[in-house]
Symmetry: C2
Subunit: 369 residues, 2 copies
């Protein structure tokens, strides 16, 4: 299919990489759908956001670039038309000069996608050209979702982000290169993430059921309340295709038991230890303590995992203090969509300081200004 | 379909439950196919065995009893015909009296099946009648594969068996009831089994790849030799439907590294601890130490897991000595097929002492003699 390019009206002074009134788009493509944020180059924050509920398809060749565009372009055009109309209404003389036609400039788009690292070949090959054709976009960045999470949580400073949900991944940078730890999925790692915590809790419940050492009667009670008789759980879990999500659904039960149950508390302490290990592996050296009394590095926690609150955060604070005594732990509301918008804005302004990488942060059409 | 019953010739003295020349059949139905063993009631060991390579189908209603019979009956008839012909050739006058027709009596059949506990409803409902019709069988036992493993490894004495392969389950009995521990599959337990060991080894390899604490460079080398670059492993593993088997395929690599690599050795010690915990949970009280210097209980190890040898057996011996100081650990060559034949022979002779249970050991047609 073809995507017709609307006329792009340049309002920027000549010589400038993009006009201060130009738009930027941030995109977050994940398992629960595609989110798009529109912003102005010269203003912080998004003007508007929209959500396409259908997750982008992936096939043998990777993320389906056509399917992504089919959702992204109408959503982006609608956001741009609405913003242009609102801007025109404010400055009627400009609208009259433009003859009523929609007039906008999209200086940059940044797309963060789950699976970019392993599944993004077609995205990298097809998307930048298609966006240039369809929206007149001058600059495009394709990022792993961990990178947009980093940008949303830490910004363009050196540091580390831990993105925790069903899984768990840590990403750090000294602004020279990226360091990644874990994020290997529920069978190879994701240690300390939601599925890991839930699985450990169910293991402890089954131990209590069997009379094995390490069991927790409290967690067995919760297993029965949530899933029914313990011996029926394998028959419920294994036929499911979303087994990691089923395991992660038990993580809040572990947190709820941790106040009174030492086994549950031990699981969360172990999870905190694994999360701190991942953060310590990626946090840049400047954030580690030195002879002068410690660095000023930042470890930002982001994602649904940390909504578990103090039962996990309290031991994590202790483990981080032990492994990274110089670092400052923050919890953040800046999400991957915010991060994508930040990357787009920095790219448009010629100030993207995060390191480029073929699968972490790919900028194929970057041009000298 | 119908299964015509051949004429059964009774050679036993009247009043006896079955003639000493009667046959018994043991069946082991598992993931790699159906195995059938034929024996004589009054002689130890099998006369002959055969293998049907196609695993018995399971559907929403459980194990497919028709599919099992379609494979079992021709295999059993062939074994019986061959054995009868051989017996007739030895005693020609008997063969002449029988007029050349095949003449055999099947006193009992015992079928051990993986998934009996949760998937065996149709087996229990349909199989005994069908076997009576088709082979004139007088007694039928349906057993969980852990029970035939017990019978093969321990026999009819009190004790415990640990059956280890990709998974791990422990089963014990005091001859009054069964006690089961673990065997909950690779996400809920099977702690210390092949998939557990392999997964722990791959986790340690990925930790080394990331620079996280707890990593093993030796295991990372083995991961690369077996699977290729570490970062490609998730893409190889997660699309597979036999993920537990893929994980378990790495367990021998962990064992091979354990001599020189403390992380690998630690994984096997942890596995041994989990296995001992399961054995301790099911071993009957008489096998635990008492004031008189310890019981005489037996913990039998069976299954492919223990072919790993001393790297696992040595720490397991120590862990068992710690948790069950009175117990005697044995490794055994008696497999579930041997166990099924033993159960059939005991059932035919009226001497089955293992406890009956709806899903562990079901004897629907037991008759008084």
């Amino acid at each position: 299919m073809t995507h017709a390019a609307p006329a792009a009206t340049h309002a920027a002074p000549s010589g400038d990489p993009a006009g201060p009134g130009a738009y930027v788009l941030g995109v977050d493509s994940g398992g629960s759908g595609l989110r798009v944020a529109l912003g102005r180059l010269a203003e912080p924050g998004p003007l508007a956001t929209t959500v396409c509920a259908e997750p982008v398809r992936t096939g043998p060749g990777g993320i389906d670039a056509g399917h992504l565009l089919d959702q992204l372009l109408p959503a982006a055009r609608e956001l741009l038309e609405r913003a242009s109309a609102a801007a025109s209404a404010e400055t009627r003389s400009d609208a009259a000069r433009a003859g009523g036609a929609s007039a906008y400039e999209v200086a940059a788009v940044a797309i963060g996608a789950a699976g970019m690292a392993t599944l993004g070949e077609r995205l990298r090959a097809e998307l930048p050209g298609a966006l240039a054709d369809a929206l007149g976009v001058r600059r495009v960045a394709l990022a792993a979702d961990a990178v947009t999470a980093y940008a949303g949580a830490v910004g363009q400073r050196p540091g580390a982000v831990v993105a925790g949900g069903t899984g768990m991944i840590a990403l750090g940078t000294d602004l020279k290169e990226w360091h990644r730890a874990d994020g290997w999925g529920h069978l190879l790692g994701d240690s300390g993430g939601g599925a890991w915590i839930g699985r450990a809790g169910l293991d402890a419940a089954m131990r209590a059921h069997d009379g094995r050492r390490g069991g927790s009667a409290a967690l067995l009670d919760r297993l029965r309340a949530v899933f029914g008789p313990a011996e029926t759980l394998p028959g419920l879990l294994y036929p499911r295709s979303d087994r990691p999500a089923v395991l992660a659904s038990f993580a809040p039960e572990v947190a709820a038991c941790a106040g009174a149950d030492p086994v549950a508390a031990g699981i969360l302490r172990q999870a905190a230890s694994h999360i701190a290990e991942a953060a310590a592996a990626v946090c840049p050296a400047s954030a580690e303590p030195d002879g002068e009394g410690g660095g000023a590095g930042e470890v930002a926690l982001t994602g649904g995992l940390f909504r578990m609150g103090e039962p996990l955060i309290a031991p994590l604070r202790e483990e981080l203090a032990r492994l990274l005594p110089g670092a400052r732990m923050t919890t953040t509301t800046g999400d991957p969509l915010t991060g994508a918008l930040r990357i787009a804005r920095a790219l448009a302004a010629g100030g993207l300081r995060l390191p480029r990488h073929p699968t972490m942060l790919f900028v194929p059409l970057e041009q000298e200004t």
